[in-house]
Amino acid sequence: MPINTPLLDFYRTMRRIRSFEEHVADLYVRGGTAGSMLHLSIGEEAAAAGVSAAMKPEDRFTTHHRGHGIFLARGAAPDRMMAEIAGKEVGYCRGKGGSMHIADMALGHLGANAIVGGGIPHVVGAGLSAKRLGTGAVAVAFFGDGAMQQGLLYESMNMAALWELPVVFVCVNNQYGMATRIDHATKVTAFDQRARAFGLAAAMVDGEDVEAVHAAASEIVDGARAGQPGYLAVTCYRFFGHGRMDKSPYRSPEEEAAGRKRDPIAFARARLIERGLSEAAALDAIDTAARAEMAATVDFATAATAPALASMFRDVFAVGEPEPESVRTRIARVLARS
C-alpha cells in the first residue's frame, strides 16, 4: 500500500513525463506531429518535477525548446499538449506554435522558445511585474547548458540581481548542446560561480535525485520570493539524441550507457521501495496508468482537426484589429482595378 509522500508524487510526475515523451516520439516517427523538430526531455524529469514542486501556483515560467516535461510538471493537460505538437486547432496554441512554442497563460507558462536563451529575459520582466504589482509570484526561466554561453543570460542575471527581483534561473545541464559536450563549449563548468559573480544565490544539484533537486530548488525559489534572486544548475544526462532523429553518433555507447544509468525515475523507484513507501506493484500501476493516459492523448491529437487555412491570418494582432490582407486577395484586387 503506497503511502502518500512527495516522493511518490514526484515519481508519478516523472513517469507521466517520460511516458508523454515516449508517446510523442512515437507519434513523430509515424509522421503524426507538425514540425521537423522534436526534443525529448527523457533523463531530465527530476529537474522538471523537483523545481516545479518548489513553485507556487501563481508563479510564472518560461522554458527552452526541451520543455514538455517542465510544463507537464506544472500541470499541463497532456492532450492539449499532444494536440499542439500535432499542429491541431485544439492544441494549446491552435496549432500555430508546436512543440517549441507551447504556452499557457492560465498555468503561468509564458512560453517555450526556439531561440536558445530567448525566453530568459522574459522572466526578468515577469519578476519586475510581480514586484511592482505585489503579486508575490516568482518567475523561473528554464534553459539548457547551451544557453550558458548566450550573453543575454548574463544581462538577465545582472538585472535580476541589481533590482532584487523574484526571479530564478534554472539550467537543465544535460551535458550537451546538440553534439557539443559542455566541456567543448566552455572552459569552466562550475556555473554557480558565474551566477554568484553577478550577485545571485546559486547552487548546483544532482539531477538524478528528485528530492535533492526539490530541496535545492525550494531554497532558491523561496530566497527569490524574499528578494534574493537565484540560480540553480541541475546536472543530468540527455538520454537520447538532440532531436528525435539524432542517434548521437558523437558519443560513445559506454558514455550513453553510463549516462542513462543516472535515471531519476529508477532512482526514485528504488528509494521508494527501499524506504518502504511503496512497492513494485503499486509503482507498476502508476506506470500503466501513465501509459494509458498518454496513449489517449495520442488518439485525441490524431483525431483532432487541423486548423482552417484562414486561421493563419488570425492572431497576428489583437482581436478587433484588421487581419493582414492575403496576397491572393491583394493581387486579385490590383489586377481587377488596373
Binding site: R60, T62, G91, Y92, C93, R94, G95, K96, G97, H101, A103, D104, M105, L110, G111, N113, I115, G118, G119, I120, P121, H122, V123, V124, G125, A126, G127, L128, S129, A130, R132, L133, T135, A139, G151, L152, E155, S156, N158, M159, L162, W163, R314, D315, V316, F317, A318, V319, E321, P322, P324, V334, R337, S338
Partner: protein, 325 residues
C-alpha cells in the same frame, strides 16, 4: 493652443499616460535622473519615482526582453532604446519574441509594449548613431510602427500607442526634438493609423513621414513659387500603412514621390513605390520616384552626412524635372 517642442510633447504624453495608467513604466538607459539621452524623460522621475522610471544597465537585449516579459504579465512598459542604431542588438527580442508571441501562442496573449527610440541624421553622430532603420521594423509581421513628424503627433501617437494591445515601435527623429510648434493637444487627435494631408496640391503627391515631412513641405513651398502645386502626405504610422489616403491623392495628381531618409534599396520608399505603382497604375503619368538616403553608411563629416540624405534642393529639383515635361 500652446507653443511646444517635439521633445516636450513626448514628455507630456509619457506623463499623461503614466498618470492615467499605473501600469505604464519606462525602462531604459538613463531614463531616470539623467532624463534620457535627448532629454525626453527629464523630470518624470521626480513625479513618478525610480520604480516607474527604471534606469537600466547597458544591456539592450536584456532591456527589450525584460519589457516583453513585463508586458505579458500586467505592466505596460515603454522601453527606450537610446539610438535606433542599436536595433541590431535587439532584433531577436523584438522580431522573434515581441512580434511573434501572440501568434505563436495562438492568440492567448499579446505584448503591449512600446519601444521608443530615435534615429536619423542631423547631429553628425557617425555611422553607428545616425541611421534610419524603420524598414527592418516595417518588414516584421506583428509590429506596429509610428514615426511622428510633429509635436502634436508625437503626443497623440505615443498616447495611442500606449493603448494598443500589440508591440509598437515608436521612432522619433533626433533632429526634431527642439522643433517648436503651436499645437492644441486637447483637440481630438487624428485616429491611429491614418495619414494626414499636410498640404493639399494638384500636381503631384509627396508621400513621406518623420523629419522628411518638413523637407517636403519646404520643398512644396519653393515649388509653389515655381508654379507647381504639390500635395504632401504625412503617413504618421508605417504600420498600419494608410494606403487609401495615398491612393486617393495619387489618383488625383497622377504623380508620386516616395520620400524617406533611410537607405534607398529595399527601404520604406520601395514599399511605398511598389504599393502606389500597383494601386494607381492607370493614373500614373510618371513612374513613382523614390527620393531616399544613399546606399552608404552615414559619414561623420557634417557636409558628407547632409549630402547622404534627401535635401529640400533634391526634392525641388526632382519635382521640377517631373512637372516640367
Amino acid at each position: 493652443m500652446v507653443e511646444i517642442t517635439y521633445r516636450d510633447a513626448l514628455r507630456d504624453a509619457l506623463r499623461d499616460a503614466m498618470a492615467a495608467d499605473d501600469r505604464v513604466v519606462v525602462i531604459g538607459e538613463e531614463v531616470g535622473a539623467y532624463g534620457g539621452a535627448y532629454g525626453v524623460t527629464k523630470g518624470l522621475i521626480e513625479e513618478f519615482g525610480p520604480e516607474r522610471l527604471i534606469d537600466t544597465p547597458i544591456s539592450e537585449p536584456g532591456i527589450v526582453g525584460t519589457a516583453v516579459g513585463a508586458a505579458m504579465t500586467g505592466l505596460r512598459p515603454v522601453a527606450e532604446l537610446m539610438y535606433v542604431d542599436f536595433l541590431g542588438l535587439v532584433m531577436d527580442q523584438l522580431a522573434n519574441q515581441a512580434a511573434k508571441i501572440r501568434y505563436m501562442f495562438g492568440g492567448q496573449i499579446g505584448v503591449p509594449m512600446v519601444l521608443r527610440t530615435q534615429g536619423g541624421t542631423g547631429r553628425s553622430a557617425g555611422a553607428q548613431h545616425s541611421q534610419s532603420l524603420e524598414a527592418w521594423v516595417m518588414h516584421t509581421p506583428g509590429l506596429r510602427l509610428a514615426m511622428p513628424a510633429t509635436a502634436e503627433d508625437a503626443y497623440h501617437l505615443l498616447r495611442q500607442a500606449l493603448t494598443l494591445s500589440d508591440p509598437v515601435v515608436f521612432i522619433e527623429h533626433k533632429a526634431l526634438y527642439a522643433r517648436k510648434e503651436t499645437a492644441d493637444l486637447t483637440r481630438a487627435p487624428a485616429p491611429w493609423g491614418k495619414a494626414i494631408v499636410r498640404r493639399p496640391g494638384r500636381d503631384a503627391t509627396i508621400v513621406t513621414y518623420s523629419r522628411m515631412v518638413h523637407v517636403a513641405l519646404e520643398a512644396a513651398n519653393r515649388l509653389a513659387a515655381l508654379g507647381h502645386d504639390v500635395e504632401v502626405i504625412d503617413l504618421r504610422t508605417l504600420a498600419p500603412l494608410d494606403i487609401e489616403t495615398v491612393i486617393a491623392s495619387v489618383n488625383r495628381t497622377g504623380r508620386a514621390v516616395a520620400l524617406s531618409e533611410g537607405p534607398l534599396t529595399a527601404g520604406v520608399a520601395a514599399e511605398l513605390a511598389a504599393r502606389i505603382s500597383e494601386e494607381c497604375f492607370d493614373y500614373l503619368e510618371d513612374p513613382v520616384i523614390r527620393i531616399a538616403g544613399e546606399d552608404i553608411p552615414i559619414p561623420v563629416s557634417p557636409e558628407l552626412e547632409a549630402g547622404s540624405v534627401p535635401s529640400v534642393e533634391l526634392v525641388v529639383e526632382t519635382l521640377t524635372r517631373m512637372l516640367s515635361r
